[in-house]
């Protein structure tokens, strides 16, 4: 049996966890700044840490791509845009434990030789923005940020930068354009940000949870981290359970835990109901069903079953929920958030929305299932960035697992479900 491993969440029940007093003394950063920066990169490589923002790219390797002695400024940008539907781990992390992030930033910036770092936080979370500003101010006051940190001769400026409402700004190159004061639209890669990122200078972009995990690796060692998780998906992560579970919330566990194990801890599906479908890692990851309860939630195992670990955003839906309704709503989201730069995504998400609306109303036929998968075929792999690809995930997977449910809508000329039964208060 896998058990929980509170690390980043460990101090969240202290009333002052978001202050230095409730966090600790930055001893990992202090030690790191006495090390050779390359040794830090090596330690993070050895730990096996992979990006917690969805794609799972090895973090140490990403840092290793930053060219050294190139005479250019280097930048560290933390991606705190958390907007992928279902994803809700970075926001409570920054609310309760912003110093873990700030300490991780100091260590990372030192390792990649960056003297300027940014936290790009979505704007719609005001109290989190306050907490970040306060944590950064506290760190400056203590001399953990600014000039000559820990008498090491290392200088670091850290800016909290609020976004303004745009899911696409979570895509790393769109984020950079946004941070430079432009519309947030993705850039052509290559060049990758490690070569030409912010202001065309070498830049590392990492997710909040990735960076916040770094102090624990420095403090306890790469082996300690690598001792958790599975062979290729090492360490721990925050699993976010939402929806029709008895006790939704944040569960910090080694990668490779299963939904069955997590549901056991969370009191199961809400009383009197059963699991119908779920997302392993946000709406951009193909849905799973009750067939997948025992899939280890690591990058490889989830991938082998046709989905993605993504951000471990486990949105749980019971048998009262219409899968078409869910698919349509996610599709409306992608259509709304498509930045418009490329035709397959801009036009494709629009048409998917139109057709799905018709299907949900029962005005369609089996041939329309071919239409929506055809549209998806024209988006997947042909879009400029991964938003377009993500938009096809609910389409393919819902048709794959719930074809009969689509047909049922055509048969009866409408939706067979009563939305009232799915609500928190509706199905007593």
């Amino acid at each position: 049996m896998t058990t929980l491993t509170p690390i980043l969440t460990k101090n969240w029940d202290l009333p002052n966890s978001f202050t230095l007093e409730g966090y600790g003394d930055y001893s990992a950063a202090k030690r790191a700044l006495g090390m050779d920066p390359d040794a830090i990169i090596q330690a993070v490589k050895d730990s096996g840490l992979r990006g917690r923002g969805g794609a799972g790219f090895p973090t140490g390797m990403k840092w290793g791509f930053i060219p050294q002695n190139d005479g250019k400024p280097h930048y560290l940008v933390v991606n705190a845009d958390e907007s992928e539907p279902g994803t809700c781990k970075d926001i409570p992390l920054m609310m309760a434990n912003p110093h873990a992030l700030v300490e991780g930033i100091i260590i990372t910036a030192y390792a990649i030789r960056a003297n300027h770092a940014f936290i790009y936080v979505r704007g719609e979370v005001l109290h989190v923005v306050r907490r970040l500003h306060a944590a950064v101010r506290e760190a400056y006051e203590k001399g953990y940020l600014g000039t000559g940190i820990f008498d090491s001769g290392f200088d670091l400026e850290l800016v909290v930068h609020s976004g303004a409402g745009a899911y696409i700004c979570g895509e790393e190159t769109a984020l950079l354009d946004s941070l430079e004061g432009y519309r947030g639209q993705p850039r052509l890669k290559p060049p990758f940000p490690a070569v030409a990122g912010l202001y065309a200078a070498p830049t590392v972009i990492n997710n909040v949870e990735s960076i916040a995990s770094v102090p624990s690796i420095l403090a306890n060692g790469a082996d300690w981290f690598a001792g958790m998780g599975t062979e290729k998906s090492k360490g721990f992560g925050i699993f976010s359970l939402s929806g029709h579970v008895t006790r939704p919330g944040q569960y910090e566990a080694p990668l490779g835990i299963t939904l069955r194990e997590l549901l056991d801890m969370a009191g199961g599906i809400r009383e009197g109901h059963r699991l119908k479908f779920w997302t392993p890692g946000g709406s951009s990851t193909p849905i799973f069903t009750d067939e997948h309860l025992d899939v280890p939630l690591d990058f490889e195992s989830v991938g082998a079953k046709g989905s993605m670990l993504g951000t471990r955003a486990l949105q749980i839906f019971d048998e009262t929920v219409c899968v078409l309704r869910a698919t349509l709503r996610w599709t409306e989201f992608y259509a709304h958030e498509s930045c418009g730069k490329c035709t397959p995504c801009r036009e494709g998400t629009f048409w998917l929305k139109q057709v799905l609306k018709r299907l949900e109303a029962g005005q369609g036929g089996e041939e329309d299932l071919a239409t929506i998968t055809d549209i998806a075929d024209n988006i997947l792999g042909r879009s400029f960035c991964a938003l377009g690809d993500g938009a096809t995930s609910p389409i393919y997977s819902s048709v794959k697992y719930f074809r009969d449910e689509y047909l049922k809508h055509f048969e009866i000329g409408g939706c067979p479900f009563d939305p009232a039964l799915s609500t928190v208060w509706g199905a007593k």
């Binding site: 969240w12 970075d90 005001l126 109290h127 609020s162 929806g243 566990a253 709503r329």
Partner: protein, 217 residues
């Protein structure tokens, strides 16, 4: 209309401080748009012009940026800008019902403001709080675990000037303009208010403690 000299001077002081944080001035554009929104309750013509002037951009460039982002309003938001999450998870858990009952109760729809200027409404996307579904926001503070009844009570209280408190936030609800100022990068002093974490945020930790589970030493 242009800003009075006093307003302009005040905005310029703030703007220069914000611009100074960035290696390149244009990076300050998003914060500056939040700043002018904190003056007018939306990004006005004057606001666009101010940002353009201080950054040496054309107004068209600034408008091109501001219209890309949903948080910049093109007409005045209410003193209290209310969001109802209608992304899939919240919608299913009751957000759709909250939205339909709330709009009927208030007689306004999406992106509209009550005639008294007090409350505006927006259908918001996933706000990274799905474990608290159904989720609402007021001036971007969290109002978690809502019901149709609590939502209607909330807007009534806002219109009556009653003291309403976020579920995870400060002991005082600031105005939309004040919130915009914080987003510009000029925080108030309320960060210490409110809990570290509540309810679902603590669920895993609570279970770990009850079972004596810890991370390896």
């Amino acid at each position: 209309m242009t800003y009075s000299p006093e307003v302009r001077e005040r905005l310029e002081t703030d703007a220069k401080e914000i611009i100074g944080r960035y290696p390149k001035a244009r990076s300050a554009l998003l914060p500056l748009l939040h700043l002018v929104q904190s003056e007018d309750g939306y990004v006005s013509d004057d606001g666009h012009e101010f940002c353009a002037e201080i950054l040496g951009l054309s107004k068209a460039e600034v408008v091109g940026v501001s219209t890309f982002y949903t948080m910049y309003k093109r007409k005045p938001a209410g003193e209290y800008h209310v969001g109802v999450c209608i992304n899939t998870l919240c919608a299913v858990m009751g957000g759709d019902q909250i939205w339909s009952e709330l709009t009927e109760h208030m007689g306004i729809g999406a992106d509209e403001t009550t005639p008294d200027g007090k409350v505006s409404l927006e259908r918001i996307e996933c706000n990274a709080a799905c474990d608290f579904a159904p989720v609402m926001t007021v001036n971007w503070e969290f109002f978690d675990n809502q019901t149709p009844a609590s939502a209607k009570q909330l807007v009534d209280d806002l219109r009556d000037g009653a003291n309403v408190l976020p579920t995870r936030g400060p002991k005082k609800l600031c105005s939309f303009k004040d919130a915009s100022r914080i987003l510009a990068g000029i925080p108030d002093d309320l960060a210490g208010d409110g809990p570290s974490a509540v309810g679902p945020s603590l669920e895993g930790l609570r279970i770990a403690k009850a079972n004596g589970w810890e991370a390896p030493k």
